[in-house]
Symmetry: C2
Subunit: 394 residues, 2 copies
């Protein structure tokens, strides 16, 4: 008899964003015609930029003609895109070899897949509050998980713990709190990881939102990171690829553990378990890294930054304490009136049709907090901000 | 200290198609200007059809406008595509619920990912010769693997063994042999799997090549398959999506093992570890299942079928025994002159620049055989066939 992966039975009943979707579904079924202001899931609202659209059309045209048609792509990524990403890093002062850049279908896919490189016995450390998939993917693998809580006291940027851990999840700028590690803060983690022979999985999905030039946009800006870190990035939030899908992963050639080279292991994984990422998407993604593409990225991001400012103004007016929103697309709010996170969720949905994300969904230490995303449209953000002021201002 | 997945050390030194690519690279470096006739890797040569191209362009246009823009897609697939695939199955007489259809980035990705549903202790049975990733993905997972060889005697269609196995790989039409199970042949496997509470992973990537209407194109044409089988399909060979990427997987709602429902487990896996497949690709893929799309698929496939016929004529002329080629895109040839598979590979490459795939790369019982793919261009296939006749005809 086949044995199934019984770790699945240890997962909580439903995934955070799925539960939110179900609650919205129920509400709209009961309130026909209700318009929902979706500031919950971090999905973007602006269309793809002109350069990306042009590159996608050109790539589709390539697939229509025998002489320009592309079949199987190299499993680790098309050279043109790997080179464009390496050149993009060089502009931040981070030098990478092309073979250290892997193209992926997106950060969430990669965060799940990459766990295959590690043994089940490795202990995962999740700095919380955190993207719930970090925990769930490790529950599915049957791994022991250490939850490292953070709080207002340490600015939601916890330093390394005294105990040892193997597989460390760091997300900076942070989802959900919007907190960003300084170089010194990241250096402590890099030192910890090198000392304990841990590996840091650095989720840099929101790096493009950093405006303070003193803050690190890549963990590889920190000395020593090349021997302890994997960086996982995405075009979802940078260039609006949530529904188009494309990401990339950096695995330095010096990253060895137990005599095995993680870059070489990942090459073997990709060549065995995938047939590469769509030529069309890789062509579209490569446009993001051109000079014009980067200009368009900054325009896209400024829309969301204005949304974040609009939300922060509303919370200032209400007198609600908040974090993030400056170098990150999320505003992390303390729930008013001693409401729990889900209590505040239900209150906002029922009273003013505004949807955010309950902080408790990101870990226990997120209870009593609430995440607002700046990725909704300007109109929805403006309307939601006004409605919140009207509802919550004393 | 982190513990890496040491099963990777048990993998053979290099993946079959990678080794072929390296050999070609070496040859072309040493023979400047040499033109290689690539009948090795099963990559298609015909461009995407008109309906697919049109749908892809339309989808790109949707991503350019705020009002038609698509962000995150449902993790298990867009309803429009899941419904189109279910309707396509209904035409073969197989009734599926929409929720039993999962959209994937391709069969190779899915064959790797789906192993997450099963415990390491489950024993994998690989009917050989076989696509080498079946074995390698299970080596990576540390699973015990039973190799079930086949031979000319059973038409490369082995019946179930007397011993028990848990996770059974069947590929029909077969890669590499081109053999196709009859309904009766598949029924034996379905009965075996239900009896032993095994799960069959049915790789149906080549189903569109079946022309004999008595042969099953889906395992779900067999009574009892809904309680023991997962079907993994691809648009790569059907509609030329090798470099565009899209596939689908059928997990029946009745498939339970050890009290757990595999469809529900896969929903949980996808919602945790992915953010869905690109809207653009799903739109392109949905065009394949329209009436016009299916007409274009048949035209595409007829090109490859003519190539297979051209190859078979050459082998008839040479007097080389072969298998497949009729209901499958592969022609499986017995190596001449008692050459080993790699010996024949080197001989063809060095003498006439023709590349095929050594049968021994698909398992020990493939030694002495050689796979030719019909997916090359008509011109290359014609030229390669002529060159082989000139070289090998006594």
């Amino acid at each position: 008899m086949i044995s199934v992966n019984k770790n699945y039975a240890n997962l909580k009943d439903s995934y955070l964003f799925y539960k939110i979707a179900q609650k919205i579904k129920k509400y709209t079924e009961e309130h026909e015609g209700a318009y929902i202001y979706r500031l919950g899931i971090g999905d973007v609202s602006q269309p793809l930029s002109a350069s990306v659209i042009r590159a996608l059309h050109e790539a589709v045209n390539d697939q229509a003609e025998k002489k320009t048609f592309h079949g199987y792509m190299p499993e680790c990524g098309a050279p043109f895109l790997r080179e464009a990403i390496a050149a993009h890093y060089a502009k931040k002062g981070v030098n990478l070899k092309t073979e250290e850049v892997f193209v992926s279908s997106g950060a969430s896919d990669e965060l799940g897949d990459i766990l295959d490189l590690f043994d089940k016995s490795s202990v995962a450390l999740v700095t919380e509050p955190a993207y719930p998939a970090y925990v769930d993917a490790n529950v599915m693998a049957g791994r022991k998980i250490l939850h490292l809580p953070s709080s207002e006291e340490n600015g939601f940027l916890p330093p390394p713990p005294s105990e040892k851990a193997d597989l460390i999840y760091l997300c900076s700028p942070n989802n959900p709190t919007g907190a960003v590690y300084t170089k010194e803060g990241l250096r402590q983690w890099v030192d910890y990881a090198n000392e304990n022979k841990s590996v840091i999985l650095f989720d840099a999905a929101y790096e493009a939102f950093i405006e303070d030039p003193s803050l690190p946009r890549s963990i590889f800006e920190i000395d020593g990171a090349r021997t302890c870190a994997i960086e996982i990035c995405s075009l979802s939030k940078t260039a609006g690829f949530t529904g188009t899908r494309l990401g990339y992963t950096i695995i330095p050639s010096e990253l060895n553990r137990e005599g095995m080279n993680l870059n070489a292991m990942w090459v073997r994984n990709r060549t065995t378990k995938t047939n590469g990422v769509s030529y069309i998407l890789q062509k579209g993604g490569s446009a993001v890294f051109t000079e014009q593409g980067q200009k368009e990225v900054r325009e896209l991001i400024s829309v969301y930054k204005n949304n974040a400012k609009r939300l922060m103004r509303a919370f200032d007016e209400i007198g609600l304490p908040y974090f993030g929103g400056k170098n990150a697309p999320y505003v992390w709010v303390k729930c008013p009136q001693n409401l729990t996170s889900w209590g505040f969720f239900d209150y906002l949905l029922e009273k003013i049709c505004v949807v955010g994300t309950p902080g408790s969904g990101f870990g226990q230490c997120g209870e009593g907090y609430f995440r607002f995303s700046s990725f909704a449209s300007e109109e929805d953000t403006e309307a939601a901000a006004k409605k919140m002021v009207a509802l919550l201002k004393k």
